[in-house]
Amino acid sequence: MAFTTFLSVTDHTATIELVGELDSGSAPKLHRVIEEALRSDVSCLELQAAELSYMSSAGLRALLFARQKLGEDGSVIMLGAPQEVARTVRLAGLEASIKLTDT
């Protein structure tokens, strides 16, 4: 299954909708979108993850990359992640870096 992203930026928040399967084949695509998003003056990255049906460690690496690019005061929030995806974030010990919320 393909992986697609939709990016929008308002004020200091970039929103990326993630759709499909995020593995090491598709993670470079997310990496590029994150770089594009962070070219604007952004302090918060919101990831709409309700349609993210799969995520491997390659996806986690892209998200941590975003978190680190945003600096100490930045934040990365993942919204509506399916149970399995959210569990992978927790298991990787990344809850402090990537905040999980239901909606």
């Binding site: 399967e21 090491s24 084949g25 491997s56 460690s57 992978t88 298991l91």
Partner: protein, 141 residues
Amino acid sequence: MDAITVPASLASLEEVAGYVRALAEQGSLPARAAYNLRLAVDEIVTNIIMHGYREGPGEIRVSGGLERDHVWLQVADQAPPFDPRTVDSGPQPNTPPMDMQLGGLGLFLALKAVDGFSYEFTNGTNINTLTMSSASYGGCS
């Protein structure tokens, strides 16, 4: 299930995922166990491509089958010997986000995701064997 042999390329991940999906269906694995088995195989195959063959040419053979109470899946390659269990790469809960690194995380997730894992190096071949109990929801909780 009949084995498949794929080139050591990230483009092969989709075919491997399809194989795991089909095996999980045949074995009537619950959705969560099927997801975890796919995650484990994905991470192990990715590691073979990126670090085993160092993104060079090579082949990866994936085979699998059903037993009475579990599904097994084997990933074999001819890259240099490498036992995934030797990588110490657990989460770093006390590390600030800015200092965190994720080397080895994939294999950590892989080994957590399955019910059983074994490794052997025989006749120049790395053989990784993963098992998932049919009644299980996966060890990844």
